[in-house]
Symmetry: C2
């Protein structure tokens, strides 16, 4: 078992499909981590099947994941972000209205207390109130961690606008000035991919392939972002079928071709609109696999890509835990091994 | 039972999800009709479950649907169109390469013979060979019937280009000059609707409604066709979720809002491109329900809508049966009760 004598906080990135749990030391250093596929959807399903309140299942999963850590470090604070704070989660946390400075203390964290007396503090999500409103839960913590790990503002001291892109089931395009989120929008690109590859006329003819076929992927990108893509994914998706029929595409290329079409349409739509007039640089914050796909797609369009640090949600939650007073960061009081550089920057740098 | 003494041909519109069977009299008049939900997909599934060749199941379904007609009118010819002619169908029919004059005799029809000796003749589909190829099966017969029932060329004798739109699971936009198909493209709009409403994060919060909510539908159209729709359906779909969360949309409006979004994006993409510079009139050829949705959407964009005659596939198959010599049309030999106006026009007019 890992030596947890330096453990300061347990951080849970508890989303729709997975729960990632971390033990963090000073500066947000990851000392130990575990992952469970008991995301919020699986918890809801289990509660429904067993006829018990979902809070009971959340507590069971939490105990299974973190029980040994809690036994070793009794009284360690626990912080969480993601869909665990939604109305289908463990307890409903607030939304902060954009624009929001992520580094400023927000409303009090929503807390839930387990039977054993452990208090879990849930970070609020963000809401963008507009004719078409938008919401996020969990990504706000990833962004905070990603910004800490990214290069500083390229224009020196002046406020610089960044585009942060978080690909996933629901990919988020986020406009950030310093640490303030000013705008964001969601594309259901990953979910459309799952729907098309699970039970559609395209999934019927697709043959699964173990390795990515980059030729097929880039062909999809090219179709979506050229004049042939003008009709959008509703129109281009059918070409996956007809090209297999005519022999222009192999059945084991269908998945990557469709992936390229979808990401290409996301970039041709929201991407083109968001990147016009911007610094033409994107901070990419997703899984290794999705970062590679979006990175290729963005670079083919001449966009500079910076990759966020790994475990950016954990790094962001560390900062929120410090700001909320759940833990004290030695760096913030001038005692960091990285030297005293003032609280705001050093916290974020330490998260590396 | 209907009196079938004037029966000339049995026509089957056998698609992916349904089989519509007609007994046609002179001029393509519908004397009797039946419908089965044993479409090509259901037949394949039954054959697979029973471990028998799918041809055997096609024959069973055909006997169930048409057995009484065949007993009453032995030797009546049988013609068919649709996915029944695909590589998952009863027998694989050819594709004719666009441009194709639908009123001209094409390649020989593909035939299949039942155990009882009944010969079923299957009409070829169309293929548009391009970088992104496209195909249709069944719609070519609907178009032929729809053109016969539509007003003549508005410019008098000169060749006039028409846009025929056939909404459905896979909606087809078809460019036609006189009776020649010169171009077509497919949007998977109906299939995307089914996917989103069956098993997605949107279907989870949608509450089924019995009557169409036209306010919600037109709100979806407006979003898709305005600046808010620039990111395409991948982006706007998420608003169905967030608007329910904020109370801006009721759960029982989700289905019609998403329907409006999808049809709106189809029109903003392919529609805008296909209608630019055209006569700004569309011949709409779908189910009553889809015709109403697409009709409203087109008219809101200032497009004039003409509705195709009902049972246009039957009308088209009658013409093909005559052209292929399966039946002789009295009108074509000058004996029509509508008067002798030359074979080409009278055949089509009789199909009304």
């Amino acid at each position: 078992m890992t030596n947890l004598t330096r453990a300061r906080v347990i951080a849970l990135d508890w989303g729709t499909t997975r729960c990632r749990a971390y033990v963090l030391g000073d500066g947000g250093v990851v000392l130990s981590e575990l992952e469970s596929c008991s995301g919020v959807m699986a918890v809801s399903a289990r509660a429904c099947a067993d006829g018990v309140p979902s809070a009971q299942v959340f507590e069971q999963v939490f105990d299974e994941l973190c029980g040994e850590w809690l036994a070793e470090v009794p009284g360690i604070p626990v912080i969480a972000c993601g869909m665990v704070g939604s109305n289908q989660g463990w307890a409903e946390a607030a939304y902060r209205r954009v624009p929001v400075d992520l580094s400023s203390p927000g409303p009090a964290l929503t807390t839930v207390r387990t039977a054993a007396g452990v208090v879990v503090s849930i970070i609020p999500g963000l809401i963008f109130e507009a004719a078409l409103p938008d919401v996020m839960r969990g990504e706000e913590s990833q962004i905070l961690g990603a910004l800490a790990g990214a290069e500083g503002a390229r224009t020196g001291g002046a406020s610089a606008e960044r585009i942060v892109l978080l690909p996933g089931t629901h990919s988020k395009w986020v406009r950030v000035v310093d640490t303030t989120v000013t705008d964001f929008t969601t594309c259901m690109t990953g979910e459309f991919y799952e729907l098309l590859m699970k039970d559609s006329t395209l999934s019927l003819l697709a043959v699964r392939s173990d390795l990515p076929d980059w030729v097929a992927f880039e062909r999809g990108l090219e179709v979506a972002t050229s004049k042939a893509g003008i009709g959008g994914i509703l129109n281009t998706a059918f070409s996956a079928r007809t090209m297999v029929m005519t022999g222009a595409l192999a059945p084991n290329q269908v998945e990557d071709y469709v992936s390229g079409l979808l990401i290409g349409h996301e970039l041709a739509g929201i991407g083109a609109s968001w990147l016009a007039g911007s610094s033409n640089e994107v901070l990419l914050c997703g899984s290794t696999q999705l970062n590679e796909r979006y990175g290729r797609a963005l670079e083919l369009r001449g966009v500079t890509v910076a990759l966020a640090v790994a475990r950016s949600a954990a790094a962001g939650m560390w900062q929120v835990a410090v700001a909320a007073g759940l833990v004290q960061d030695p760096a913030a009081v001038g005692g960091s091994r990285h030297g005293a550089r003032g609280p705001e920057r050093s916290e974020r740098d330490d998260a590396n």
